[in-house]
């Protein structure tokens, strides 16, 4: 694996690691809930969404069902809770 491949692999979680990313995100949400109990209901809602997505992945483990996997990935890219800085630093380049 070249340095560039390793770097790109860090930037975009590979599809195969998607479940691990979501489980990790769920753990971080639980930790956040412990620190910020006043946001418990909102965090619970996010956890419930993640649980549903993880269940979707677990129910459909066929590696060739790219449509389902791509749908989950697209949803994570659009709404995932673990990339929160907005706008991104690169948005100011140009």
């Amino acid at each position: 694996m070249t340095l560039v491949q390793e770097w790109l692999g860090k930037l975009v979680p590979p599809l195969a690691d998607l479940r691990g990313v979501m489980v990790s995100a769920r753990e971080r949400l639980l930790a956040m809930k412990a620190r910020l109990p006043e946001f418990g209901p909102q965090i619970d809602a996010q956890i419930a969404e993640l649980d549903a997505k993880i269940a979707t992945l677990d129910a459909d483990t066929s590696s060739d069902n790219l449509s389902a996997m791509a749908g989950v990935l697209a949803n994570e890219l659009m709404h995932g809770p673990y990339f929160t800085d907005r706008p991104k630093p690169s948005d100011f380049a140009g």
Partner: protein, 164 residues
């Protein structure tokens, strides 16, 4: 064809799994940068620019971006407006990369005056400051002229809508 494909991809991403709780975040930044232009029917050109940028984060990974820059050596004004899909390093959220397209404008021949594909990186090196180190490359879809910029900007972030 290239532009239509880019528009379709971004529209599909925006339409995917719409949800309630949408919020947008606007960021503004000012700074300075070096700019290099090459190929595409004009002489190579380089300059030092003062720049002002704006970015509207529509979703965590789709942003509308725009900016204006003044070149001190050649006394030009150039600008761009476009959209980018951005991702953040999963282990270092101070670093991100963006890929998109923009319509570029110029006051004098020598920069870009056309649609261009873009790639950009941004890094916040300090935890005690919001200062950003940025770099971008653009490729004119009509002329093939290339632009590379690298510099430092200071962002100001304005948040509206529900927290995410």
């Amino acid at each position: 064809m290239k532009r239509a494909t880019i528009f379709l991809l971004l529209a599909a991403a925006l339409a995917a799994h719409p949800k309630a709780g949408w919020s947008a975040t606007l960021g503004l930044a000012v700074g300075g940068q070096g700019a290099w232009f090459d190929d595409g029917g004009h002489e190579p050109q380089r300059d030092l620019e003062a720049t002002g940028r704006a970015a509207l984060s529509i979703t965590p990974h789709i942003s509308a971006v725009g900016g204006i820059a003044y070149g001190f050596m050649e006394s030009y004004v150039r600008g761009s407006v476009g959209a980018r899909a951005t991702v953040t390093d999963a282990t270092n959220k101070s670093f991100s990369i963006g890929i998109g397209f923009a319509r570029h404008f110029e006051s004098e021949p020598g920069q870009l005056d056309e649609w261009a594909g873009e790639a950009a990186i941004g890094w916040k090196p300090l935890t005690t400051s919001d200062i950003l180190i940025t770099a971008a490359a653009a490729y004119g879809l009509d002329s093939g002229r290339r632009m590379v910029t690298a510099g430092v900007v200071f962002p100001v972030t304005i948040t509206a809508g529900g927290a995410r």
